[in-house]
Amino acid sequence: MTTTTETPAPPRNRAPFPVHRHAALIALIALILFNVFTTPRFLTLATLNINLTQTATVVIVGIGMTFVIATRGIDLSVGSLMAISGAIAPLLFLNPTLGPNIGTVLAFVLPIAATGLLGAFNGLLVTRFAVQPIIATLVLFIAGRGVAQVISGGQLVNFTQSGFTALGSAKLLGIGAQVFIMLALLAVAVFVLARTLFGRQVIAVGGNPEAARLSGVPVNRTRMLVYVISGLLAGLAGLITIAINSSSDSNLVGQNIELDAIAAVAVGGTALNGGRVTMIGTLLGALFIQLLRYTLLVKGVPDAAATVIKAAVIIGAVALQYRRR
């Protein structure tokens, strides 16, 4: 009759090395090794500095983007917000009535506050008016650059205000200041996402919004906040960009950065439809894309071919993360 068998504990084979979870890291290491062996003068402080400084703004914007994407959103307006903060700042630190000191301090505070507010506007559209994020932020993507141009009269503003430009030119141990800002923000973001109530709620909202709501997560407030964070960080990135160049060009500051940031987030391993989020991944993704660009430049690959190679490599790096079911 029925054999009533004792149930052996299901054998737990150890899963093989999870390549998909470290795809960005593996890709980055591979690219570094490639350069170590083929690019002269690659292992220098200068190389490190160039690549880190050039990635800083993308990573800073990417941190905000990661928060937004974690809630299943997307923020196309970041580039325009950078232009707005970049357009406001010179009005403050070049303003003779404010004086250089007050002006400089205000130039750090007000533009970022303004873009934070615009982030809140994005959030409002997404939460109150239930507009899909890609469209909600498309509004400021278009209008925001116009606003920046109106603020600056479309003119390129040149300046040499050392207090402010230090943001772009100061160095510590041979590494630019913006790199340290980036690393500090990243550390905070990693902590927030992994360890704080807000961070967990962000991920819950992305994982299953209705379940989150019924479990007492303030879904709308959470989504609102991620857009504000994204706005604030874009504002800061805008300031860094103009500080490095000692000039503010509202037509160009932040152009196409949303694509770079989204690509970094995706290559890093964050899922665009919620549930899987990694902040470090965003850093690795951004570094990978930057190093790829560096490599193609150093190797003298012409622009057109470089674009094709970049596309293929990015898709390949993302594909590594997806296991077949």
Binding site: Q54, L297, V298
Partner: protein, 301 residues
């Protein structure tokens, strides 16, 4: 098929200016010059901005044709795509003036399809930059070239003008050429990388001033001394570039004057008055270097 459309002599006109893009100081100066002059004359200027799209620019021109303006000033985004609409304007009886970049003159002809072309000679600009470079370096240099936007006619012609000239000097070598898209930010980023990969470089040729200014930032950050151990030449002649010459960082810049307003509208008035108009009006551009930069500073855009 008949000649050019007629233009009556009037006190004021309604004219279109179809700009191709508005994303750099040069374009801004060009637009401002057209708008200021129209205001001074008391004319109505319909301004359109194609945001860098040739197709949209065609559609902009067409909306001007639909409004039956008196004349159209077109600064074509690209040569070929804007050619068909030149014929459409002619068919609608609206005289057209081409500014800055040209249209494809194998298909449409100045004097029969459009009135005239007013602008600079990009090839000559590249050549003038090369002449200075050869003279300054004594015919021995390793050059990094910062190209303009891929595929744009100034980038193509400025590259060709320069490279054709230096080809005659075996001591001059172009060791890297990459695009900086005519912008300061990209010019800087590309130069940061290139100077690190090619520390042996002794000179830089940038297709416009913005990229040259970005390159200066990058070179200084890399510990080089622009103007001393590395020579730079560029094109455009904007005020901040002249300032860089005065500061000893930029070697020279070839002017490419964006101030078309006076000349463009004067040409139109001449055309209405039936004066003969040449098919090609080339600007007399200046050349700025340490000798004249200070004096010319206030005349630059």
């Amino acid at each position: 098929t008949g000649g050019l459309p007629k233009l009556p002599v009037k006190a004021t006109y309604r004219v279109c200016f179809n700009q191709s893009e508005m994303d750099n100081p040069w374009r801004l100066a060009q637009t401002a010059s057209m708008q200021d002059e129209a205001k001074k004359l008391g004319w109505t200027l319909i301004f359109t901005n194609a945001n860098g799209s040739a197709a949209k620019q065609v559609s902009d021109v067409r909306s001007c044709i639909a409004q039956k303006v008196d004349a159209i000033f077109l600064t074509p985004r690209e040569e070929k795509p804007l050619t068909p609409v030149v014929l459409e304007a002619k068919k609608a009886g609206i005289p057209m003036f081409i500014i800055d970049r040209n249209v494809d003159d194998t298909v449409v002809k100045a004097g029969t399809d459009y009135v005239t072309f007013i602008g600079s000679d990009f090839y000559a600009e590249g050549k003038r930059a090369a002449e200075w470079m050869v003279k300054k370096t004594g015919g021995k240099a390793k050059i990094i070239e910062l190209l303009g936007s891929t595929g744009s006619s100034p980038a193509i012609d400025r590259q060709k003008g320069f490279e054709d000239y230096v080809a005659k000097y075996p001591g001059i070598q172009i060791i890297a050429a990459q695009t900086g898209n005519f912008t300061r930010d990209e010019g800087r980023k590309v130069m940061e990388t290139l100077i690190q990969a090619h520390p042996e470089a002794t000179a830089v040729y940038a297709h416009n001033d913005e990229m040259a200014l970005g390159a200066i930032t990058a070179l200084e950050a890399a510990g080089r001394k622009p103007g001393k151990d590395i020579m730079l030449v560029s094109i455009d002649g904007q005020k901040s570039a002249l300032q860089a010459i005065i500061d000893g960082k930029l070697g020279a810049t070839v002017e490419c004057n964006p101030r078309f307003g006076v000349k463009a509208f004067q040409t139109m008035k001449d055309y209405a008055a039936k004066k003969p108009i040449a098919g090609r009006l080339i600007n007399q551009d200046r050349f700025f270097d340490v000798a004249n930069a200070k004096a010319m500073l206030n005349t630059a855009f």
